[in-house]
Amino acid sequence: MKILLVFAALVAAAGSEQLFMGDQVLRITARDEEQIALLRVLGEQAELQVDFWRDPTSPGHPSDLRVPFPSLQAVKIFLESHSISYSIMIEDVQELLDEEKKNMTKSRRTERSTSTFDFASYHTIEEIYDWMDVLVDDHPNLISKIQIGQSYENRPLYVLKFSTGGSNRPAIWLDTGIHSREWITQATGVWTANKIAEEYGQDPSVTAILDSMDIFFEIITNPDGFVFTHSSNRLWRKTRSINAGSDCIGVDPNRNWDAGFGGSGSSSDPCSETYRGPYAHSESEVKAIVDFIHSHGNVKSVISIHSYSQMLLFPYGYKRAPAAHHQELNELAKKAVGDLAAMYGTKYTYGSVADTIYLADGTTIDWTYDNGVKYSFTFELRDTGRYGFLLPSTQIIPTATETWPALLDIMVHVLENPY
């Protein structure tokens, strides 16, 4: 990311001098060309000494502006008087530089290895992306990292591919974090990816699965939202795409799929948490998966992981009529939740989305199911509302541990029931 490069330059320049004390970096989003022009004028005021880390190019796309401490008040007054919306991305540049320097020194000393990654903590996107590279390095004959597209804010959409060879083998798709506030899912994703890597060659079921099938695992399915939950709003759910004609940001990526799109199980209001988007697959995060599954052509199962509620769900959400394979999916769900409960007693309910929670249209698994992926499931992980989205990190490993046998039940069933 460009910001890291600029940081590196700043660190090199600053050494241990306190050159940036109190400076802030503002993230500014200009609404129209007039505001863009105003920002350019601002940048040209020599006495303010501001500098753009990301230039204002077009309306709706954020630009980043470093403002020296003495100019802060004047700049903010300027922005506010012209109704230019901004947020404080970095509160004190010097503080961040000092912290960065401390961490960089620390991590140079620590040996990079998956065995030192703390699975019992919640991590940032940088930490998870770094860990993914280490996982791939540690298992070069099993795991590779592919990029299936880019998010709205141009972050890479990475997928871990688990494969022991072959050519376009039947595949299982797993995703976590499509709703960014559901932090237990990305954390479970990291643990589970590591578990799959550990168990290949050890556990007979995992070995059998990977000897004839591939697994594709997208752990951070909504990176822009995830970053936003760390920087600004822990309870952000949607993508971070700008909606034309609205101050409200984001589309619900689990209402944006082309399956029953646009019904009463989603909203047409951009300010709603279940806003479906201007059209199906408008979100690059969704389109990337659609394109991947279409071009792969041999995906046999999709398991999309959410929280919370403790449920295991299958199609349909967009209609009450049972899916053609309702009975088989129901039986498999029953077995899976039974094995989940056997671990620590955690009770899950199961059934179709429409029966068990509510009508929801444009969802991931309805689209995959209607596009030939028979074994399409959604998990809703812990808990049932005591902590909800803010699940204590002490529950990460127990949650991942109990979910594992349920995932395995589904994957084994897929392996043993080719179609």
């Binding site: 822990r234 309870l235 409200c248 948490e273 029966d355 049932t384 699940l391």
Partner: protein, 222 residues
């Protein structure tokens, strides 16, 4: 006649959540929060011109002591038409709840003896942590939010307390403790996060009261 509702059904779980919230409000304290362990049975009756009535058998647990559970039967009546009437909830507890007098009194005295008014925010924090000394403040919000949830529930909502954004103690000259909370409610059905202000009064012998509450506009950050 009341018809059985499958336990996994969305409508049954909404009624159960509402009953639990109401129960928690009526029986909870800073030393005791009640949560739904499991829904054992659900039946529903459509009463023409009145509304929908749910008959529920619940198992509740003490959030501070998961092994402590109690069975409960509850009736929830959602009124037809007028959205401004809170649902009617009645319940019967089978057995005793743990006595929390000691914990309640310790908390009461601790707050009463504070020199500066208590102020706190983000409970739990992003990582789900609640500092031990804040747990009674957290539970008090849990109990009081039961009132707000009860008053604002319909068959198309399922509210949970998501987080305390901010809490400030308000010093009083009488024996009551008063706290001004800004909480976030999560509605599972619409997936919305709804900020809600509530003024909460509590005394160990007089229970929890919500003297004032108001829904806040959604904070659109970005």
């Amino acid at each position: 006649a009341a018809m059985e509702v499958p336990l996994s059904h969305g409508l049954a779980s909404r009624a159960a959540a509402l009953a639990t919230a109401y129960l928690c409000y009526r029986r909870g304290s800073p030393g005791r929060g009640l949560a739904l362990r499991s829904l054992r049975r659900a039946r529903r009756q459509d009463i023409s011109d009145v509304g929908h009535k749910y008959y529920l058998e619940l198992e509740l647990e003490d959030v501070l002591d998961k092994d402590s559970t109690v069975n409960c039967t509850a009736e929830v009546l959602y009124h037809l038409g007028n959205k401004n009437i809170a649902p009617d909830v009645q319940f019967t507890l089978e057995g005793e709840l743990k006595n929390t007098d000691e914990a309640d009194n310790i908390f009461y005295n601790r707050i009463k003896s504070l020199e500066k008014e208590l102020v706190a925010e983000n409970i739990p924090d992003s990582h789900g942590n609640v500092p031990p000394e804040m747990e009674p403040i957290h539970l008090l919000a849990w109990v009081a939010s039961g009132y707000v949830i009860w008053q604002n529930s319909t068959e198309n909502t399922k509210f949970q307390l998501a987080q305390i954004k901010h809490v400030k103690q308000v010093k009083r000259s009488d024996e009551y403790l008063e706290f001004d909370y800004m909480i976030l409610l999560h509605d599972m059905v619409s997936q919305e996060i709804i900020p809600w202000q509530m003024t909460v009064l509590w005394h160990p012998q007089h229970g929890v009261q919500v003297t004032q509450d108001s829904r806040q506009p959604k904070h659109e950050s970005g």
